[in-house]
């Protein structure tokens, strides 16, 4: 913000220097190769990825101990590109957002090389880095805000409300938001698709149909070799249904089963006329 910031920031960024409320959340991780562990540095050197290019930039700025209001763009850009190369060497996917930032940095670097307009009165307004600095500061603010939300949520997790009482369960309701509508609609569509698929599968004979078929076959032929009947059943599921139909008609005493010899074929006969 103010000019004093510069002197303050020139101090080495050791963790002991000031109380840091949110060590874990500021920078999520770094590469050991470009982030040699420094004594007292609270940044854990892990093979983690940065949440995004702004995180990486903030990390590098801190790493290089430079003033955020006066970023040496050339140096930081080089570091940034080195990091991207490293990620690629390690076969980590470099998200598009990182590449967009790389392009912006390179562009910024070249603009910084252009001679300044001597007619410009207020230098700050022309500083090509201003946008980037504002974005970085804004980003930091929201990282701090998310830390605050995190602590709030932690406190809230220790508070419980009463269990559902009867009036609630008697009246199962949901509070509805706009996306619930859409989700609901999509679920219906998905269900629809499933049903169509089920119907295709369900060409098979139902139990009732199978019983009717068995009845007719026994009635028309007087007796029926069960092997013949089972062979006609088709699929595995059909076979089960066929078997169950035989049991059902036996149970209803509509047919009886006879076997003329041990291990011989089983014959179904109409039971009633006998």
């Amino acid at each position: 913000m103010e000019d004093t910031a510069q002197t303050e920031l020139a101090k080495p960024a050791t963790a002991e220097a000031k109380p840091e409320p949110a060590p874990a959340i500021n920078v999520s991780g770094a590469k050991p190769e470009i982030a040699p562990d420094r004594e007292g540095d609270q940044l854990n050197v892990t093979l983690g990825e940065f949440e995004g290019p702004l995180d990486l930039l903030l990390y590098l700025i801190r790493q290089e101990q430079v003033n955020i209001y006066d970023i040496p763009i050339a140096r930081i850009t080089d570091e940034y590109l080195r990091y991207l190369n490293l990620m690629q060497e390690l076969d980590l996917t470099v998200a598009g957002d990182f590449l967009v930032m790389a392009a912006q940095l390179i562009e910024l670097k070249s603009r910084m090389l252009l001679p300044r307009d001597p007619l410009a009165e207020v230098e700050e307004e022309l500083d090509p880095r201003a946008d980037l600095v504002n974005r970085l500061l804004e980003h930091e603010k929201f990282k701090a805000a998310s830390q605050m939300l995190w602590s709030r949520a932690t406190v809230e997790q220790a508070v419980f409300t009463r269990a559902e009482i009867e009036t609630d369960t008697n009246n199962p309701e949901v509070t509805v938001g706009l996306f619930d509508l859409l989700r609901s609609f999509q679920e219906i569509l998905a269900r629809h698709k499933e049903e169509v698929m089920l119907e295709i599968e369900r060409e098979e004979v139902t139990m009732a149909e199978m019983i009717e078929r068995l009845r007719n076959m026994v009635r028309s032929a007087g007796e029926l070799n069960l092997v013949t009947f089972f062979e006609r059943a088709g699929s595995r599921r059909g076979l089960v249904v066929a078997f169950l139909s035989v049991l059902e008609l036996v149970r209803l005493s509509e047919i009886s089963l006879v076997q003329r010899e041990t291990f011989g074929e089983i014959i179904a006969r109409s039971a009633s006329p006998v």
Binding site: E140, A153, E156, A158, T161
Partner: protein, 203 residues
Amino acid sequence: MSKAAKAAEVDETFEPDGEIEGEREISRAELKGIAEALIFVADEPISAKSIADVLKVEREAVETAIGELAKEYERRNGGLQMREIAGGWQIATRPEYHEQIRAYLKSRPSAKLSLASLETLAVIAYKQPVTVPEILEIRGVQSPSAIKTLLDKRLIVAKGRKETVGRPMMYGTSKEFLIQFGLKDLSELPSIEDFQDLAGGEA
């Protein structure tokens, strides 16, 4: 408890200026009892206004009654608290007993939000209503899965479309957000500028 107890003894009826529609007047002690019962049965924080509407009494009378109730709970220092949250009142356990409650419910703290989701939520909370491209601008990363998580958890809701190119959907925080983060309303959030020093100073 003394004041509350006294109120119960005296049992004076309050006089709303001629707005009562019910068959009989509700005494102050009764009003407190009813308010407590309603706050207890409501499945989400209930406002003084809702209670006043149901009972057909003045909102001020309900507010006074709830204020006394809250103080009573405070003074009693029992296992429960009466607190204002998400624009309404709620009875909840005191945080100090969370360990024993968890042991009984055999519950674990629910999964915390990921860093990406929390950051996205922070941006939405402070910038609402805000579109996906605007969130991208601040976070520097795409956050589709974070937004989906937040929608699934009902922490954010759609807030119409922005009248700009592509008419992107705008998002804002929900009542559930207030509840889960223990906020009376959005104004209770510390100002984003308060985080400024931190941002500038840390670099």
